[in-house]
């Protein structure tokens, strides 16, 4: 298990247990929290952490920046943690922790499977590349096996 996978399992573990999400590694710096009808992609690179809500739509996966959505539409005002001169590992861990706390606070309905929020005008999905889609599909299959489905 690499350090980025460990960070996600440590910081998102509680949230995944509460909302019945299965954690699967997609690739380097890319993890998936897989639910029944959606999944969250956690992207970690040197710029930081971002969380994408991914849902299958007309044979392709659509990805929506969930952090952007809850900041713009649900009143998430992050920033209670001062930015310090820290290493990348510490920063990724802190950002993952912040996401895990605030997604449960501001996006509880989304984590429970609600999809009405996607009808909002401001929601702008992006497509995933073919390579990413294949990796996501493989992760979904692995999660089904781990659930015994």
């Amino acid at each position: 298990m690499d350090i980025k996978e460990k960070i996600v399992r440590d910081e998102f573990g509680g949230m995944c247990k509460a909302f019945n999400l299965v954690i699967e590694k997609i690739g380097d710096g890319e993890m998936a929290l897989i639910g029944v009808a959606f999944l969250l992609l956690i992207w970690m690179d040197r710029e930081g952490v971002s969380v994408k809500y991914v849902r299958s739509a007309s044979s392709r996966f659509q990805a929506i920046d969930l952090g952007r959505f809850i900041a713009l539409k649900r009143g998430w005002v992050a920033g209670n943690l001062p930015e310090t001169d820290e290493n990348i590992e510490t920063r990724l861990r802190r950002e993952c922790s912040s996401y895990a706390i605030n997604l449960q606070k501001y996006a509880e309905d989304i984590l429970q499977g609600e999809i009405k929020w996607m009808n909002e005008v401001s929601v702008s999905p992006s497509v995933l590349s073919n390579l990413s889609e294949k990796a996501v599909e493989a992760a979904i299959e692995r999660s089904k096996k781990s659930k015994g489905i």
Binding site: G67, R68, S126
Partner: protein, 219 residues
């Protein structure tokens, strides 16, 4: 005597020329009226155009393109054609839908979101870490410096990202967007500050626009 023959020669040539320009094509001439035992030569007005003088020549080239139009006819495959011209091509299909193909004699700089596209691109290119920011005629210019050189977003931009992109602007590179430029990928929320900040891709796009590349960007 010689002068007379020369005059006769000129007259014959003139007559031949007149005959050519005024005679309908052979297709216009048909044999008719053979009932009375003779042959009447008919002149078919619908076939009078001599192909040599058509206002709209037959577009045989367009309708029947020769094999040489297809590069693969000579090189076996487009990839061989590109290789013969020292032009690089990647198989990865980016989310923008752009074709990742170089231009002969010119460097192609590829920009995009790391997670959405660039990680797949540098992977296909062998993930070679390099500080070579020079021209790569026919090839691709991507930013993939050793990871340990990254300390902070500001430091990385000023020391590596901006100089790399400035070189591309100075050369007048062909810029390919692997990710469709839009606000969602230009910014990210910083959970520490609570503010939206420019992503690396966002900074690169802004830099190009501020440095006169705006009109040359197509996506």
């Amino acid at each position: 005597m010689r002068t007379i023959f020369q005059w006769l020669r000129w007259v014959c040539l003139l007559l031949l020329g007149l005959a050519w320009t005024t005679t309908p094509s052979f297709a216009a001439v048909g044999a008719l009226n053979q009932a009375n035992g003779g042959v009447t030569i008919r002149y078919d007005a619908t076939q009078t155009q001599n192909r040599g003088y058509d206002a709209e020549p037959s577009r045989a080239w367009d309708n029947n393109p020769p094999e040489m139009v297809d590069a693969s006819a000579f090189f076996g495959s487009p990839a061989q054609f590109l290789a013969a011209n020292n032009v690089a091509r990647l198989n990865y299909v980016p989310t923008s839908g752009a074709v990742l193909e170089g231009q002969a004699g010119r460097t192609s700089t590829i920009l995009g979101s790391y997670q959405m596209d660039m990680k797949h691109i540098v992977s296909e290119m062998g993930n070679v870490k390099s500080l070579d920011f020079g021209a790569k005629p026919g090839g691709f210019n991507v930013l993939n410096v050793p990871d340990n050189l990254y300390k902070s977003p500001a430091q990385f931009w000023s020391q590596y990202n901006q100089p790399w992109l400035a070189g591309a602007v100075q050369r007048g590179d062909n810029v390919i967007f692997a990710t469709t430029p839009k606000m969602d990928v230009f910014t990210r929320i910083n959970p520490s500050t609570g503010k939206f900040e420019l992503s690396g891709f966002g900074k690169e796009y802004l830099f190009l626009r501020q440095n006169g590349m705006g009109s040359k960007l197509s996506y």
